[in-house]
Symmetry: D2
Subunit: 375 residues, 4 copies
């Protein structure tokens, strides 16, 4: 099967996540990056594209979408790795031309944009994959599989958190600036940047739907225009309850995403910084350490794992798993075949839920942490 | 200095916490247990007292208070280790006779009782010590001292939790039965039994006062009359924010009390099950592991520690520290001297706050997690 | 049952381990300390004894043994907590008067003394208990029980280590001085002080006998007269192999005693600094965390445990377990009854093996790490 | 800079390490795999090569070396990922044609082969890179840098171990069969397969040279022809001492490579299964947790790291770092420029030391663990 021709929007010289997407696309060798509009100006785009040795460099995504759609050897898929406020327009442009979209999270910076993008994705024949990359970790897949299999019984309590510390003080480098600018990131600060990951992860593992939430969000650093800490109570359909904490002002935390799920029969605990371990306690028995590809780990994890137990896989491999899931789907689409059943990736609907989560947090917090629904 | 003559109310043959108090009172050899009314009936009291070799055994606490107060060699202090609903009447009886009271938590089973007991304690010359025992751990003292010294700067975020799993299913042994009976334990289940510990610990370490809270509490096990899981948002005076989780239905958690405090300059993390470690991160520097009596630990911890670093002290030693703090205070009281400045123990006011916490959780949850004040 | 009348030799004002023994003797309330010869001179002994409020204070152990043996209310047992070179003479004095001896480790400072003491113990009707205190930890008992039950199959490999760091540089306080003085501590430095603990622990858990060892020992700190680091290979009867490392110059290690035992069917891992956890891996299954009094822990651990799982017990409780084992044996001896089968404590023979271990390390190392037998 | 044209010998359809090399070569996008002789027969080679979409497929490495050397667009470098006994002949074939060699470890299966290969490498202008991949981990680089900078002072003690459990019982799948066949793997079992990694890692981090070693090696599984457990004492030039343990029969260990280095001023501890953490204790100060790209980590780690702290990098990234180091060297060689000073990778001399280590272990063990020199 020939490699998928890939383009990229965003991810220029001083960006962070673009490089991650590029590595992720290479790990399993199913993509070939051939075109890009990597920066916000044509000059920078050219410089960044040349640095990568791209075959075709464009001044902006609109030009790129049109040109690539018109070529026989045009890109089959595009990665969108810009700041949040650009996601919608860029994604729509490619979807309208039937080009598959792999888009960084959160889906969009506004709820209005999110609905626009959902409509475009639904109308298009092209696929839309959202890189909530933590869903690509093998032990997250294992946890999801175990919940679905009933290993912990009906879920009662979900504790999920994503603390960081890098915004404990005011920062003036690029990654900090756009993430704390509501015009680029959206109304949510920590909620949008990392709270959406936590929210998505809880849904991904448990399959539960949030009915309502109550949020108390703050901007602790003086002058900051978006939240840097969020405390959220969750009520799930069916009666489960949850707590979600996102923070960018918690010294000693790097990317300490962690989820704990407790059911009538057992508990599961997973932490992103030690992703190869899943702690499982059947009620009344000793806690068990399930390791990636080790004893007790099943097919859902093995399917997205490359090396034996005890040889850690990390963030890039988890990210690569989403690219490889997307590749399977795109390869199926080449022939009109359905996407295989075991392919799993976050969708545009997951993205909409994330943007709704941010909006709900802002709305609830403005109303003194009143309960609000997502929709 | 002669050992303090100690009595005990509760703690009979099939009790749990009474035995803990007795060991705690012996570790530093400052008490002599001489009298008791250990059970709810005179017959059981006698059997339990004889099993312990007590010199003077009473049928009930009222008789004991009167008789002991009338003896030259009567008890100087009494430990009250009954189910919660007995605390108030028993404590008042001894306080009225000028006998110092060491009382298990929560202070009382009702808010009304709590106020009665506060009034009695304030009126009495006798001391009142509440055994929120986790405040006795050396590294908790260390954390408190570091917050007070400004090592982490002004506190912004407090994350405290106390999950257990033993009530994941319905249980019918004695310790479970009275703790899930609102007539004996009070209106709170997990909130009263362990939530009060978490709440107290956060206050003890940070010194912050809660202005209001919003609680979503549940009884997940069918038929249970008190909460077995509580999700609580906290707003502290001065702007700090907190989350508190207590649960008795979280499989894989034994007594997983854990607190994390984040300030403008650093963070502190401590877990009860590994109590000899305190994790401290000055923002922008590597995380440091401070160990009990090890490098980086100061006087506040050393004062309540007995053995060198690397030789773990545990629950009983922490509990014993409160008994030894109480002993210093009682010995001072013998001569009318003031309690030395470095003596630290939870007071009847701390106990009142705990009962107010439970009441506020119940009240808030009944009003759909509305914000309520403690008072 | 009345409390056992206890005396103490050593453990004066500036000692360390004496205070530990006293706490250990109190925790379960089966002893009453009534007499002592606590220091090396009569004046210091008096001062130390008065500080403890002892009823009878002696100038030296010889005087004490004779006087106490002559009293109707004389001590039934004595704790010997002096520097190593005094153990033999003191223990013999009490054994000859039929007084039970609880003696700190290592048994003696010389092999000659060890044989003398073994002979005296065998000749005496009194009991001899050696406080290799780590054998008192509940999860060590659990591990021992599991090996005996065949849970890990026939043992193949034993990895045991005891690193510390306090002697990384030359130290001039009392605890360091006598431990690095061969006249007081014996020919072994780290081997005698902590290597014996590691050696004993491996034997205690596995039941295996060492046939020969090869040792490479060093004194890294200039001028030090005894080893501060020892690397030892072990060959056990039956074919198992082991490695033992003791060090007092390993920065970052406090009392990091750790043992790992691997058999044909599984593995066990335990660390003294986190003593409430035992890691058990049945080959081909996930690693299990067995906690003290938690799921998976059995009677051997429960028998020597006081509080529920998740409430850590530590060094003092482990030490107290040996005192309580001794108490059961002593109480049996009062009536001439045999010691109950489930009572377990290190004996004078274990002590001899420890001294033989030190001597063998010194002998082997002097011969370029040649294999030597213990005996 | 155009991508380096790469070939591969070994790594066919049912191999393990070949796939790892291929991913490692792709992560930083500096290689293009264009040719291969992937299996031991021409038929299998063809099938494996076609499965990978290789441009040029050869029946054996000799044919490949000659053909590629004769092409203008021939490979510039070759990865050798066969069983050990093929390394020498294959590497020599390419070196003789001036093609750079990236070779899996151990260097060869016999000492004679090792010397042959060293001679060939020294004679050739081509580079030789040995994939002791653990040297590619950022925190291993950090540790090496700290030792070199004197952060822990002069090194006294090195404790290194690499336990696994997969050969606890007899296994009959391909990876097990060739690794336990002395004709394919060499005289060492665990010593060759993983002991060489541990040995190399200790040298890499400390820079110390082993003067002599004493080894006690065993084959615990009946019928096994090579060691599955090795206990080794090490004496380093300058007086440092070490212990090395390799095992494939330690249930509960996956790839538990771990190193601890202690010097006059401090200690360092690193474990392969949690590779993003380095524990550093300056003597007399609290232990510090240095994280990859986090506070306290320096240039040597940052140079080989791709993502921010808290986003774990693992085994494949560490492996990729060696490929990228090799790429820098190869790119320099294109123009005749010297290899930049900061490029670090294991050399053919390191490989020779590894084979000498295995031979010395076998020799020492046969002589009852006598001390033997490496050379």
């Amino acid at each position: 099967m020939s490699r998928i021709r890939l383009g990229m929007v965003g991810g220029g010289n001083d960006a962070f996540i673009g490089g991650v997407h590029r590595i992720a696309s290479r790990i399993d060798d199913r993509y070939q990056l051939v075109a890009g509009a990597l920066s916000s100006t044509p000059e920078k785009s050219r410089a960044s594209g040349e640095a990568l040795g791209l075959e075709r460099i464009y001044g902006d995504f609109q030009e790129m979408a049109e040109a690539e759609a018109g070529r026989d050897d045009g890109i089959e898929a595009v990665s969108i790795v810009t700041p949040n406020h650009v996601h919608c327009a860029a994604a729509v442009a490619f979807l309208e031309h039937g080009i598959h979209v792999i888009c960084d999270k959160p889906l969009t910076s506004t709820l209005e944009d999110a609905h626009t993008l959902v409509a475009a994705a639904e109308k298009s024949d092209a696929l839309f994959i959202l890189t909530h990359n933590y869903t690509g970790y093998p032990m997250v897949r294992q946890a999801r599989d175990m919940v679905a299999a009933g290993d912990i019984g009906r879920v009662r309590v979900v504790q999920v958190e994503y603390p960081q510390d890098w915004l404990t003080v005011e920062q003036d480098f690029k990654q900090a600036l756009w993430r704390t600018d509501p015009n680029q990131s959206g109304a949510g600060g920590s909620t949008g940047d990392i709270g959406t990951h936590a929210f998505n992860l809880a849904h991904f593992i448990t399959g539960l739907e949030v009915e309502s939430l109550a949020a108390d969000i703050q901007a602790f650093v003086p002058g900051r225009q978006v939240d840097d800490n969020a405390h959220v109570l969750l009520r799930y359909a069916g009666g489960a309850r949850g707590m979600l904490w996102s923070s960018q002002v918690a010294p000693g935390n790097e990317n300490a995403l962690r989820i704990r799920v407790y059911g009538e029969k057992g508990g599961l605990e997973w932490a992103q910084e030690d992703p190869n371990y899943l702690h499982y306690t059947p009620f009344g028995e000793p806690k068990r350490l399930i390791t990636r590809n080790g004893a007790g780990a099943g097919d859902a994890a093995a399917r997205v794992s490359r090396v034996p137990p005890g040889h850690p896989e990390g963030y890039l491999e988890g990210f690569a798993n989403l690219y490889s899931e997307a590749a399977i789907a795109i390869e199926a689409a080449r022939t009109g075949a359905p996407v295989p059943d075991d392919v799993v990736y976050p969708t545009v609907q997951d993205g909409l839920m994330g943007v709704q989560f941010v909006a709900a947090c802002v709305r609830s917090s403005a109303d003194d942490a009143a309960w609000v629904s997502l929709g």
